[in-house]
Amino acid sequence: MQITLNGQIQNIENSQTVAELLEELQVAHKKTVVERNGIIVMEELHKEEGLKDGDRIEIIHFVGGG
């Protein structure tokens, strides 16, 4: 499936949900803010929120460095 992730078109092979996408992107262990098609997906819904071809996904993860 093809999605637009943080402004870049990407092919996602192994993820059907937001939670799986975060795993695939290796940010599942971090604090994240996720938006799907303009609407924030609350953390407790990451496992249920399915992905569809053409989705616009924004993911921002927090880091501590500076």
């Binding site: 943080n6 402004g7 803010v33 953390e43 993860h61 880091v63 501590g64 460095g65 500076g66």
Partner: protein, 339 residues
């Protein structure tokens, strides 16, 4: 120095103008952390004509800092100069009439409250625990603050204002940061510059009261993969948030939970703090451990013990390199310093 000429280009800029420049020159900004982010931000603010800068940092300059921490030199690294002091010296070279207060030490709630009043706090920190403390201090005193952080080629920033929008704790959903691990992916200078540039721009908008121009989003980018993102986070505001909600308790101001030994991310070192009632004297420690003493200046001394390096500060903190973890650091501290 002709200030009319000095700031002429900034004054010509439509968003600032004569009145904006005057506001900048009357403002007091606290920058916490004088590492890569904080030192860059401090430089930009001083060059922009900020009225007063307070810079707080607990660390000293090392050779590995020089690749991105643009205020510092090889001489600072050789002399173990505390970053806040090295920064102040360089900033006064850049603008000799700048007003700069420095604190060589930990930013704890009491230290921070002592620096108030201020118009703005800017984050140049390396850990989330202290950021949540800044979040609470800023909200309690109704001061805006600007979060910024970076690793690798990635960075992000968010502006917290007391008037509206969620705070950092709302965005992080109050999850404790105990599980925070150090990133080991290194960092490139442009990522730092990007974050600092957005923080300084937001600072200019806040200080010149250009509130409509504030970005209003959580923002991130990766300068290597060319990804960027900007998310409106209003829906994450929690009315029960203990920092910005209806009846705030400011949990991060109860600093007692703060760890006594702490791994410093990106430093390959552990910081150990003295027990509350412990008196540490650099002179006495230097006398007692003459054969280990390798360096001393007015802020700190350096002991080389076996293959480990212990840097003891006047306030009793030690940054210890070459230890396997916090337990070994703590025991080395107890053996050589006390407690």
């Amino acid at each position: 120095m002709n200030t009319e000429e000095r700031f002429s280009r900034q004054r010509l800029f439509h968003g600032i103008g004569r009145s904006g420049q005057k506001k900048l020159e009357e403002s007091h900004v606290i920058v916490i952390g004088a590492g890569a982010l904080g030192s860059l931000t401090a430089e930009s603010l001083v060059r922009a004509g900020i009225g007063r800068l307070t810079l707080i940092d607990r660390d000293y300059v090392e050779v590995s800092n020089l690749q991105r921490q643009q205020l510092y030199t090889e001489a600072d690294a050789a002399a173990y100069t505390p970053k806040a002091e090295a920064a102040k010296r360089r900033l006064l070279d850049i603008r000799s009439n700048a007003v700069i207060d420095i604190i060589v030490g930990e930013a704890d709630p009491a230290v921070l409250e002592n620096c108030l009043p201020a118009d703005l706090i800017i984050d140049g920190l390396d850990n989330m625990e202290t950021r949540l403390m800044i979040n609470d201090t800023a909200l309690k005193h109704r001061i805006p603050w600007i979060y910024g952080a970076c690793v690798g080629a990635y960075g992000l920033s968010y502006t917290v204002t007391p008037e509206e929008g969620p705070c950092l704790r709302c965005l992080m959903k109050g999850i404790p940061m105990e599980g925070e691990t150090c990133d080991t992916m290194g960092i490139i200078a442009p990522a730092v510059q990007f974050v600092s540039a957005t923080q300084v721009t937001e600072a200019m908008k806040l200080l010149t009261h250009s509130f409509k121009q504030l970005r209003g989003t959580l923002w991130s980018f990766d300068v290597w993969s060319n990804e960027s993102s900007s998310i409106r986070v209003d829906s994450l505001q929690d009315v029960h948030c203990p920092s910005c909600g209806e009846s705030p308790t400011y949990p991060a101001l109860a600093w007692s939970g703060r760890s006594k030994a702490e791994t410093l991310c990106g430093r390959d070192a552990v910081q150990v703090k003295p027990l509350p009632d412990m008196q540490v004297s650099l002179e006495r420690t230097a006398d007692a451990h003459k054969k280990h003493l390798s360096k001393a200046n007015q802020h700190l001394l350096v002991l080389n013990i076996e293959n480990k390096r212990l840097v003891l500060f006047k306030d009793g903190r030690a940054i210890i390199h070459g230890v396997s973890g916090e337990v070994e650091a703590r025991s080395l501290y107890q053996r050589y310093i006390g407690g």
